[in-house]
Amino acid sequence: MESLDVDGPHSMGTTIIGVTYDGGVVLGADSRTSTGVYVANRASDKITQLTDNVYVCRSGSAADSQILSDYVRYFLHQHTIQLGQPATVKVAANLVRLLAYNNKNMLQTGLIVGGWDKYEGGKIYGVPLGGTILEQPFAIGGSGSSYLYGFFDQVWKEGMTKEEAESLVVKAVSLAIARDGASGGVVRTVVINADGVTRNFYPGDTLPLWHEEIPAQNSLLDILSAPSPEPMSM
Protein backbone atom coordinates (compact mmCIF):
# COMPACT_ATOMS: atom_id res chain seq x y z
CA MET A 1 0.00 0.00 0.00
CA GLU A 2 1.53 3.28 -0.99
CA SER A 3 1.91 5.60 1.97
CA LEU A 4 -0.54 8.47 1.84
CA ASP A 5 1.20 11.79 1.44
CA VAL A 6 -1.57 14.04 2.64
CA ASP A 7 0.52 17.16 2.16
CA GLY A 8 1.56 16.40 -1.41
CA PRO A 9 0.58 18.64 -4.31
CA HIS A 10 -3.12 18.78 -4.90
CA SER A 11 -4.53 18.10 -8.28
CA MET A 12 -8.12 18.41 -9.20
CA GLY A 13 -8.62 15.13 -11.09
CA THR A 14 -11.71 16.73 -12.48
CA THR A 15 -14.29 16.91 -15.13
CA ILE A 16 -14.99 20.41 -16.44
CA ILE A 17 -17.40 21.38 -19.20
CA GLY A 18 -18.51 24.58 -20.91
CA VAL A 19 -21.33 24.73 -23.49
CA THR A 20 -22.92 27.61 -25.35
CA TYR A 21 -26.66 27.78 -25.85
CA ASP A 22 -29.04 30.19 -27.51
CA GLY A 23 -28.54 33.24 -25.29
CA GLY A 24 -25.60 32.39 -23.06
CA VAL A 25 -23.32 29.69 -21.66
CA VAL A 26 -23.50 26.92 -19.06
CA LEU A 27 -20.34 25.92 -17.18
CA GLY A 28 -20.23 22.68 -15.20
CA ALA A 29 -17.75 20.81 -12.99
CA ASP A 30 -17.49 18.02 -10.44
CA SER A 31 -16.18 18.75 -6.91
CA ARG A 32 -13.34 16.38 -6.10
CA THR A 33 -9.81 17.55 -5.17
CA SER A 34 -7.40 14.66 -4.65
CA THR A 35 -3.84 14.17 -3.33
CA GLY A 36 -2.83 10.82 -4.73
CA VAL A 37 -5.62 8.47 -3.62
CA TYR A 38 -6.93 10.63 -0.76
CA VAL A 39 -9.81 12.99 -1.46
CA ALA A 40 -8.65 16.19 0.17
CA ASN A 41 -11.85 18.12 -0.55
CA ARG A 42 -15.04 16.40 -1.65
CA ALA A 43 -17.02 19.61 -2.12
CA SER A 44 -14.66 22.02 -3.83
CA ASP A 45 -15.84 24.77 -6.14
CA LYS A 46 -13.92 24.61 -9.39
CA ILE A 47 -15.89 27.32 -11.17
CA THR A 48 -14.32 30.62 -10.13
CA GLN A 49 -15.48 34.13 -10.86
CA LEU A 50 -13.22 36.41 -12.90
CA THR A 51 -15.67 39.28 -13.42
CA ASP A 52 -19.45 39.71 -13.03
CA ASN A 53 -20.02 38.15 -16.43
CA VAL A 54 -17.02 35.81 -16.94
CA TYR A 55 -16.27 32.62 -15.03
CA VAL A 56 -13.50 30.05 -15.41
CA CYS A 57 -13.49 26.27 -14.81
CA ARG A 58 -10.19 25.08 -13.30
CA SER A 59 -8.48 21.69 -13.68
CA GLY A 60 -5.01 20.27 -13.07
CA SER A 61 -2.89 21.58 -10.20
CA ALA A 62 -5.09 23.23 -7.58
CA ALA A 63 -2.43 25.71 -6.50
CA ASP A 64 -1.47 26.76 -10.04
CA SER A 65 -5.05 27.27 -11.18
CA GLN A 66 -6.02 29.23 -8.05
CA ILE A 67 -3.07 31.58 -8.33
CA LEU A 68 -3.58 32.02 -12.07
CA SER A 69 -7.26 32.93 -11.66
CA ASP A 70 -6.32 35.36 -8.84
CA TYR A 71 -3.88 37.14 -11.17
CA VAL A 72 -6.38 37.24 -14.05
CA ARG A 73 -9.10 38.60 -11.74
CA TYR A 74 -6.73 41.36 -10.66
CA PHE A 75 -5.73 42.27 -14.24
CA LEU A 76 -9.35 42.17 -15.42
CA HIS A 77 -10.38 44.47 -12.59
CA GLN A 78 -7.77 47.01 -13.67
CA HIS A 79 -8.78 46.58 -17.30
CA THR A 80 -12.47 47.16 -16.46
CA ILE A 81 -11.62 50.39 -14.64
CA GLN A 82 -9.47 51.63 -17.51
CA LEU A 83 -11.97 50.60 -20.18
CA GLY A 84 -14.99 52.01 -18.36
CA GLN A 85 -17.24 49.06 -19.17
CA PRO A 86 -17.41 45.33 -18.41
CA ALA A 87 -14.58 43.27 -19.93
CA THR A 88 -15.43 40.98 -22.85
CA VAL A 89 -15.07 37.20 -22.60
CA LYS A 90 -12.42 37.33 -25.33
CA VAL A 91 -10.21 39.65 -23.28
CA ALA A 92 -10.59 37.52 -20.16
CA ALA A 93 -9.72 34.35 -22.09
CA ASN A 94 -6.70 36.00 -23.68
CA LEU A 95 -5.37 37.17 -20.33
CA VAL A 96 -5.66 33.58 -19.10
CA ARG A 97 -3.93 32.40 -22.23
CA LEU A 98 -1.04 34.89 -21.91
CA LEU A 99 -0.29 33.75 -18.36
CA ALA A 100 -0.65 30.07 -19.25
CA TYR A 101 1.52 30.31 -22.38
CA ASN A 102 4.28 32.51 -20.99
CA ASN A 103 4.66 30.32 -17.91
CA LYS A 104 4.08 27.01 -19.61
CA ASN A 105 7.18 25.42 -18.05
CA MET A 106 6.02 26.09 -14.53
CA LEU A 107 2.24 25.70 -14.68
CA GLN A 108 0.20 22.57 -14.97
CA THR A 109 -3.39 23.66 -15.37
CA GLY A 110 -6.10 23.42 -18.05
CA LEU A 111 -8.90 25.97 -17.99
CA ILE A 112 -12.22 26.69 -19.69
CA VAL A 113 -13.25 30.35 -19.76
CA GLY A 114 -16.92 31.11 -20.35
CA GLY A 115 -19.16 34.14 -20.11
CA TRP A 116 -21.52 36.56 -21.74
CA ASP A 117 -20.89 40.05 -23.11
CA LYS A 118 -23.07 42.42 -25.15
CA TYR A 119 -20.89 42.28 -28.29
CA GLU A 120 -20.56 38.54 -28.92
CA GLY A 121 -23.14 37.03 -26.56
CA GLY A 122 -22.27 33.72 -24.89
CA LYS A 123 -18.77 32.41 -25.67
CA ILE A 124 -16.60 29.50 -24.51
CA TYR A 125 -12.80 29.50 -24.81
CA GLY A 126 -10.66 26.46 -23.99
CA VAL A 127 -7.13 27.07 -22.67
CA PRO A 128 -5.52 23.62 -22.23
CA LEU A 129 -1.99 22.75 -21.00
CA GLY A 130 0.59 24.66 -23.04
CA GLY A 131 -1.45 27.83 -23.39
CA THR A 132 -3.30 27.47 -26.70
CA ILE A 133 -6.55 29.39 -26.94
CA LEU A 134 -9.44 27.88 -28.87
CA GLU A 135 -12.89 29.36 -29.21
CA GLN A 136 -15.40 26.51 -29.31
CA PRO A 137 -19.18 26.03 -29.16
CA PHE A 138 -18.51 23.58 -26.34
CA ALA A 139 -15.35 22.56 -24.44
CA ILE A 140 -14.50 19.70 -22.11
CA GLY A 141 -11.43 19.30 -19.89
CA GLY A 142 -9.87 17.42 -17.01
CA SER A 143 -9.17 13.73 -16.56
CA GLY A 144 -12.87 12.83 -16.79
CA SER A 145 -13.27 14.47 -20.18
CA SER A 146 -11.67 11.46 -21.91
CA TYR A 147 -14.93 9.60 -21.33
CA LEU A 148 -17.07 12.34 -22.84
CA TYR A 149 -15.70 12.91 -26.35
CA GLY A 150 -17.91 10.30 -27.96
CA PHE A 151 -20.91 11.37 -25.88
CA PHE A 152 -20.64 14.99 -27.01
CA ASP A 153 -20.04 14.05 -30.64
CA GLN A 154 -23.41 12.33 -30.61
CA VAL A 155 -25.48 14.60 -28.40
CA TRP A 156 -24.26 18.13 -29.19
CA LYS A 157 -26.49 20.41 -31.25
CA GLU A 158 -26.50 24.15 -31.94
CA GLY A 159 -29.14 26.47 -30.56
CA MET A 160 -30.23 24.52 -27.46
CA THR A 161 -32.42 26.16 -24.83
CA LYS A 162 -31.08 26.98 -21.38
CA GLU A 163 -32.81 23.95 -19.80
CA GLU A 164 -31.52 21.57 -22.49
CA ALA A 165 -27.98 22.89 -22.12
CA GLU A 166 -27.97 22.64 -18.34
CA SER A 167 -29.38 19.12 -18.28
CA LEU A 168 -26.81 18.13 -20.92
CA VAL A 169 -24.00 19.45 -18.73
CA VAL A 170 -25.30 17.69 -15.60
CA LYS A 171 -25.73 14.43 -17.50
CA ALA A 172 -22.24 14.66 -18.96
CA VAL A 173 -20.52 15.40 -15.63
CA SER A 174 -22.39 12.56 -13.93
CA LEU A 175 -21.33 10.15 -16.72
CA ALA A 176 -17.72 11.18 -16.26
CA ILE A 177 -17.99 10.84 -12.47
CA ALA A 178 -19.27 7.28 -12.96
CA ARG A 179 -16.18 6.29 -14.97
CA ASP A 180 -13.34 8.52 -13.72
CA GLY A 181 -11.89 7.80 -10.27
CA ALA A 182 -10.47 11.28 -9.98
CA SER A 183 -13.87 12.94 -10.42
CA GLY A 184 -16.68 12.77 -7.91
CA GLY A 185 -18.76 14.52 -5.31
CA VAL A 186 -21.42 16.97 -6.47
CA VAL A 187 -22.12 18.66 -9.78
CA ARG A 188 -21.92 22.45 -9.79
CA THR A 189 -23.18 24.52 -12.72
CA VAL A 190 -23.07 28.22 -13.51
CA VAL A 191 -25.43 29.70 -16.13
CA ILE A 192 -24.36 33.07 -17.58
CA ASN A 193 -26.57 35.12 -19.87
CA ALA A 194 -27.87 38.65 -20.45
CA ASP A 195 -29.96 38.46 -17.27
CA GLY A 196 -27.00 37.62 -15.06
CA VAL A 197 -25.46 34.61 -13.36
CA THR A 198 -27.18 31.62 -11.71
CA ARG A 199 -25.32 29.05 -9.63
CA ASN A 200 -26.80 25.57 -9.24
CA PHE A 201 -25.88 22.59 -7.13
CA TYR A 202 -26.76 18.94 -7.73
CA PRO A 203 -25.89 16.64 -4.80
CA GLY A 204 -24.33 13.28 -5.72
CA ASP A 205 -27.34 11.23 -4.71
CA THR A 206 -29.71 13.15 -7.03
CA LEU A 207 -27.71 12.25 -10.13
CA PRO A 208 -29.04 9.53 -12.45
CA LEU A 209 -27.55 6.05 -12.09
CA TRP A 210 -25.69 4.57 -15.05
CA HIS A 211 -24.76 1.02 -16.05
CA GLU A 212 -24.07 -1.19 -13.00
CA GLU A 213 -24.16 1.70 -10.53
CA ILE A 214 -25.89 0.87 -7.26
CA PRO A 215 -28.05 3.41 -5.38
CA ALA A 216 -26.41 5.34 -2.54
CA GLN A 217 -27.01 3.84 0.87
CA ASN A 218 -26.54 5.48 4.22
CA SER A 219 -24.99 2.32 5.60
CA LEU A 220 -24.09 3.74 9.02
CA LEU A 221 -27.68 4.62 9.83
CA ASP A 222 -28.84 1.21 8.66
CA ILE A 223 -26.35 -0.53 10.94
CA LEU A 224 -27.21 1.63 13.94
CA SER A 225 -30.96 1.29 13.60
CA ALA A 226 -30.91 -2.43 12.88
CA PRO A 227 -31.89 -4.66 15.81
CA SER A 228 -29.02 -6.47 17.56
CA PRO A 229 -28.27 -9.81 15.92
CA GLU A 230 -29.44 -13.01 17.60
CA PRO A 231 -26.71 -14.51 19.76
CA MET A 232 -25.16 -17.55 18.13
CA SER A 233 -26.04 -20.87 19.71
CA MET A 234 -23.79 -23.89 19.54
Binding site: L4, V6, D7, P9, H10, T33, T35, Y38, A40, N41, A43, S44, S61, A62, A63, Q66, I67, L220
Partner: protein, 273 residues
Amino acid sequence: MSKAAVDLPPKGGFSFDLCKRNDMLAKKGLTGPSFRKTGTTIVGLIFQDGVILGADTRATEGPIVCDKNCEKIHYMAPNIYCCGAGTAADTEAVTDMVSSQLQLHRYHTGRESRVITALTLLKKHLFSYQGYVSAALVLGGVDCTGPHLHTIYPHGSTDTLPFATMGSGSLAAMAMFESKYKEGLSRDEGIQLVVEAICSGIFNDLGSGSNVDVCVITKGHKEYLRNHLLPNPRTYINEKGYSFPKKTEVLMTKITPLKERVEIIETGDAMEE
Protein backbone atom coordinates in the same frame (compact mmCIF):
# COMPACT_ATOMS: atom_id res chain seq x y z
CA MET B 1 34.38 30.24 -21.57
CA SER B 2 33.93 33.50 -23.42
CA LYS B 3 32.89 36.48 -21.37
CA ALA B 4 30.63 37.80 -24.08
CA ALA B 5 27.55 38.34 -21.89
CA VAL B 6 27.30 41.41 -19.70
CA ASP B 7 27.03 40.69 -15.99
CA LEU B 8 23.30 40.83 -15.42
CA PRO B 9 21.99 41.55 -11.93
CA PRO B 10 20.23 38.52 -10.41
CA LYS B 11 16.62 38.38 -11.59
CA GLY B 12 15.11 38.12 -8.16
CA GLY B 13 12.74 35.50 -6.84
CA PHE B 14 13.75 32.30 -5.10
CA SER B 15 16.64 30.32 -6.62
CA PHE B 16 15.80 26.63 -6.75
CA ASP B 17 19.36 25.51 -7.71
CA LEU B 18 20.11 23.96 -4.33
CA CYS B 19 16.78 22.10 -4.42
CA LYS B 20 17.93 20.45 -7.65
CA ARG B 21 21.26 19.62 -6.06
CA ASN B 22 19.52 18.04 -3.07
CA ASP B 23 17.35 15.90 -5.33
CA MET B 24 20.45 14.75 -7.22
CA LEU B 25 22.25 13.85 -3.98
CA ALA B 26 19.20 11.98 -2.67
CA LYS B 27 19.11 9.91 -5.89
CA LYS B 28 22.77 9.03 -5.34
CA GLY B 29 21.89 7.68 -1.91
CA LEU B 30 22.89 10.50 0.43
CA THR B 31 20.36 10.73 3.27
CA GLY B 32 19.89 14.30 4.41
CA PRO B 33 19.74 15.30 8.09
CA SER B 34 16.45 14.49 9.76
CA PHE B 35 14.56 17.60 10.75
CA ARG B 36 11.89 18.22 13.26
CA LYS B 37 8.41 17.61 11.90
CA THR B 38 5.14 18.01 13.63
CA GLY B 39 3.72 14.59 12.57
CA THR B 40 0.42 15.91 13.70
CA THR B 41 -3.27 15.89 13.75
CA ILE B 42 -4.79 19.35 13.35
CA VAL B 43 -8.49 20.07 12.89
CA GLY B 44 -10.93 22.92 12.64
CA LEU B 45 -14.67 23.22 12.53
CA ILE B 46 -17.29 25.92 12.25
CA PHE B 47 -19.97 25.88 14.92
CA GLN B 48 -22.96 28.08 15.71
CA ASP B 49 -21.08 31.10 17.06
CA GLY B 50 -17.68 30.82 15.40
CA VAL B 51 -14.70 28.53 14.86
CA ILE B 52 -13.03 25.83 16.99
CA LEU B 53 -9.45 24.74 16.23
CA GLY B 54 -7.77 21.67 17.71
CA ALA B 55 -4.31 20.11 17.64
CA ASP B 56 -2.24 17.37 19.26
CA THR B 57 1.09 18.24 20.93
CA ARG B 58 3.73 15.80 19.65
CA ALA B 59 6.79 16.95 17.69
CA THR B 60 9.00 14.28 16.09
CA GLU B 61 12.54 14.14 14.72
CA GLY B 62 12.48 11.07 12.54
CA PRO B 63 11.45 8.25 14.92
CA ILE B 64 12.13 10.20 18.12
CA VAL B 65 9.58 12.32 19.95
CA CYS B 66 11.55 15.49 20.55
CA ASP B 67 8.79 17.52 22.22
CA LYS B 68 5.92 15.90 24.11
CA ASN B 69 4.04 19.12 24.64
CA CYS B 70 4.64 21.57 21.81
CA GLU B 71 2.21 24.29 20.74
CA LYS B 72 0.79 23.86 17.28
CA ILE B 73 -1.95 26.48 17.43
CA HIS B 74 -0.25 29.73 16.45
CA TYR B 75 -1.46 33.27 17.03
CA MET B 76 -2.05 35.28 13.84
CA ALA B 77 -4.28 38.10 15.05
CA PRO B 78 -6.54 38.68 18.09
CA ASN B 79 -9.39 37.10 16.11
CA ILE B 80 -7.42 34.63 13.94
CA TYR B 81 -5.48 31.49 14.89
CA CYS B 82 -3.65 29.00 12.69
CA CYS B 83 -2.77 25.32 13.31
CA GLY B 84 0.37 24.10 11.57
CA ALA B 85 1.49 20.67 10.35
CA GLY B 86 4.67 19.72 8.49
CA THR B 87 8.16 20.97 9.21
CA ALA B 88 8.01 22.73 12.60
CA ALA B 89 10.45 25.46 11.58
CA ASP B 90 8.44 26.24 8.44
CA THR B 91 5.09 26.46 10.22
CA GLU B 92 6.53 28.65 13.01
CA ALA B 93 8.34 30.96 10.61
CA VAL B 94 5.51 31.38 8.13
CA THR B 95 2.84 32.00 10.77
CA ASP B 96 5.13 34.43 12.63
CA MET B 97 5.88 36.32 9.43
CA VAL B 98 2.27 36.62 8.34
CA SER B 99 1.22 37.56 11.89
CA SER B 100 3.65 40.51 11.74
CA GLN B 101 2.41 41.49 8.29
CA LEU B 102 -1.15 41.44 9.60
CA GLN B 103 -0.17 43.65 12.55
CA LEU B 104 1.38 46.19 10.17
CA HIS B 105 -1.73 46.03 8.00
CA ARG B 106 -3.87 46.72 11.08
CA TYR B 107 -1.81 49.81 11.81
CA HIS B 108 -2.22 50.98 8.22
CA THR B 109 -5.96 50.40 7.96
CA GLY B 110 -7.03 50.87 11.58
CA ARG B 111 -9.32 47.86 11.29
CA GLU B 112 -9.61 44.33 12.63
CA SER B 113 -7.79 41.80 10.39
CA ARG B 114 -9.84 39.59 8.12
CA VAL B 115 -9.25 35.86 7.77
CA ILE B 116 -9.11 36.12 4.00
CA THR B 117 -6.20 38.59 4.29
CA ALA B 118 -4.20 36.06 6.28
CA LEU B 119 -5.20 33.41 3.73
CA THR B 120 -3.96 35.42 0.75
CA LEU B 121 -0.66 36.35 2.45
CA LEU B 122 0.03 32.71 3.38
CA LYS B 123 -1.03 31.37 -0.02
CA LYS B 124 1.15 33.82 -1.94
CA HIS B 125 4.19 33.02 0.17
CA LEU B 126 3.79 29.24 -0.01
CA PHE B 127 3.12 29.23 -3.76
CA SER B 128 6.22 31.29 -4.48
CA TYR B 129 8.32 28.58 -2.77
CA GLN B 130 6.66 25.88 -4.89
CA GLY B 131 6.01 23.50 -2.00
CA TYR B 132 9.54 23.60 -0.55
CA VAL B 133 8.24 25.46 2.53
CA SER B 134 6.60 22.41 4.00
CA ALA B 135 3.76 23.99 5.94
CA ALA B 136 0.21 22.62 5.87
CA LEU B 137 -2.10 24.93 7.79
CA VAL B 138 -5.63 25.10 9.14
CA LEU B 139 -6.54 28.77 9.42
CA GLY B 140 -9.62 29.85 11.35
CA GLY B 141 -11.07 33.05 12.71
CA VAL B 142 -14.05 35.34 13.06
CA ASP B 143 -14.09 38.77 11.48
CA CYS B 144 -16.69 41.34 10.47
CA THR B 145 -17.84 39.11 7.59
CA GLY B 146 -18.45 36.10 9.87
CA PRO B 147 -16.63 32.88 10.85
CA HIS B 148 -14.18 31.40 8.35
CA LEU B 149 -12.20 28.17 8.14
CA HIS B 150 -9.58 27.45 5.48
CA THR B 151 -6.95 24.82 4.77
CA ILE B 152 -3.71 25.79 3.07
CA TYR B 153 -1.44 23.21 1.46
CA PRO B 154 2.36 23.49 1.02
CA HIS B 155 2.01 24.10 -2.71
CA GLY B 156 -0.24 27.08 -2.14
CA SER B 157 -3.71 25.74 -2.89
CA THR B 158 -6.48 26.55 -0.43
CA ASP B 159 -9.90 25.13 0.39
CA THR B 160 -12.75 26.72 2.30
CA LEU B 161 -14.67 24.18 4.34
CA PRO B 162 -17.07 23.86 7.28
CA PHE B 163 -14.78 21.24 8.86
CA ALA B 164 -11.20 20.35 8.00
CA THR B 165 -8.31 18.15 9.09
CA MET B 166 -4.61 18.16 8.15
CA GLY B 167 -1.41 16.30 8.99
CA SER B 168 -0.51 12.62 9.22
CA GLY B 169 -3.51 11.95 11.47
CA SER B 170 -5.93 13.75 9.17
CA LEU B 171 -7.59 10.56 7.92
CA ALA B 172 -8.36 9.35 11.46
CA ALA B 173 -9.70 12.77 12.44
CA MET B 174 -11.69 13.19 9.22
CA ALA B 175 -13.40 9.86 9.87
CA MET B 176 -14.72 11.28 13.18
CA PHE B 177 -15.85 14.51 11.54
CA GLU B 178 -17.55 12.85 8.58
CA SER B 179 -19.64 10.66 10.84
CA LYS B 180 -20.53 13.17 13.56
CA TYR B 181 -20.40 16.70 12.16
CA LYS B 182 -23.59 18.65 11.60
CA GLU B 183 -24.36 22.33 11.11
CA GLY B 184 -25.21 24.55 14.05
CA LEU B 185 -23.27 22.72 16.75
CA SER B 186 -23.21 24.33 20.18
CA ARG B 187 -19.93 25.31 21.84
CA ASP B 188 -19.77 22.22 24.03
CA GLU B 189 -20.78 19.86 21.24
CA GLY B 190 -18.16 21.43 18.99
CA ILE B 191 -15.38 21.13 21.57
CA GLN B 192 -16.43 17.53 22.24
CA LEU B 193 -16.24 16.66 18.54
CA VAL B 194 -12.87 18.36 18.10
CA VAL B 195 -11.49 16.49 21.12
CA GLU B 196 -12.79 13.20 19.72
CA ALA B 197 -11.18 13.87 16.35
CA ILE B 198 -7.80 14.80 17.86
CA CYS B 199 -7.90 11.77 20.18
CA SER B 200 -8.62 9.60 17.16
CA GLY B 201 -5.43 10.97 15.63
CA ILE B 202 -3.44 10.66 18.86
CA PHE B 203 -4.31 7.01 19.39
CA ASN B 204 -4.33 5.78 15.80
CA ASP B 205 -1.50 7.76 14.17
CA LEU B 206 2.12 7.26 15.18
CA GLY B 207 3.08 10.80 14.23
CA SER B 208 0.56 12.32 16.67
CA GLY B 209 0.33 11.95 20.42
CA SER B 210 0.36 13.44 23.91
CA ASN B 211 -2.23 16.09 24.70
CA VAL B 212 -5.09 17.97 23.06
CA ASP B 213 -5.02 21.75 22.56
CA VAL B 214 -8.25 23.56 21.70
CA CYS B 215 -8.90 27.14 20.62
CA VAL B 216 -12.43 28.60 20.48
CA ILE B 217 -12.89 31.83 18.52
CA THR B 218 -16.17 33.74 18.52
CA LYS B 219 -17.14 37.30 17.62
CA GLY B 220 -15.03 39.55 19.77
CA HIS B 221 -13.78 36.78 22.07
CA LYS B 222 -11.27 33.93 21.99
CA GLU B 223 -10.33 31.13 24.37
CA TYR B 224 -7.04 29.31 24.03
CA LEU B 225 -7.49 26.08 26.01
CA ARG B 226 -3.90 24.86 26.24
CA ASN B 227 -3.78 21.17 27.24
CA HIS B 228 -7.57 20.98 27.38
CA LEU B 229 -7.25 17.19 27.68
CA LEU B 230 -4.33 15.09 28.90
CA PRO B 231 -5.12 11.53 27.83
CA ASN B 232 -1.50 10.34 28.10
CA PRO B 233 -0.33 10.92 31.67
CA ARG B 234 2.91 9.42 32.88
CA THR B 235 1.42 6.54 34.81
CA TYR B 236 4.28 4.83 36.57
CA ILE B 237 6.68 7.02 38.53
CA ASN B 238 9.18 5.28 40.78
CA GLU B 239 8.61 6.61 44.39
CA LYS B 240 12.17 5.87 45.37
CA GLY B 241 13.33 8.41 42.83
CA TYR B 242 16.45 8.06 40.77
CA SER B 243 19.97 8.31 42.19
CA PHE B 244 22.92 8.86 39.92
CA PRO B 245 26.33 7.77 41.26
CA LYS B 246 29.60 9.52 40.51
CA LYS B 247 28.58 13.18 40.81
CA THR B 248 31.01 15.92 39.96
CA GLU B 249 32.59 16.88 43.30
CA VAL B 250 32.62 20.51 44.36
CA LEU B 251 36.11 21.32 45.67
CA MET B 252 35.92 25.11 46.18
CA THR B 253 33.32 27.90 45.72
CA LYS B 254 34.46 31.49 45.01
CA ILE B 255 32.00 34.18 43.94
CA THR B 256 33.36 37.45 42.49
CA PRO B 257 30.77 40.21 42.08
CA LEU B 258 31.44 41.78 38.68
CA LYS B 259 31.01 45.37 39.92
CA GLU B 260 34.51 45.24 41.41
CA ARG B 261 35.97 44.34 38.03
CA VAL B 262 34.30 46.96 35.89
CA GLU B 263 35.56 50.54 35.90
CA ILE B 264 32.96 53.19 35.15
CA ILE B 265 34.47 56.33 33.62
CA GLU B 266 32.35 59.46 33.33
CA THR B 267 33.50 61.42 30.30
CA GLY B 268 32.04 63.90 27.91
CA ASP B 269 29.27 66.42 28.37
CA ALA B 270 25.92 65.63 29.72
CA MET B 271 23.35 64.93 26.97
CA GLU B 272 21.51 67.97 25.79
CA GLU B 273 18.19 68.20 24.04
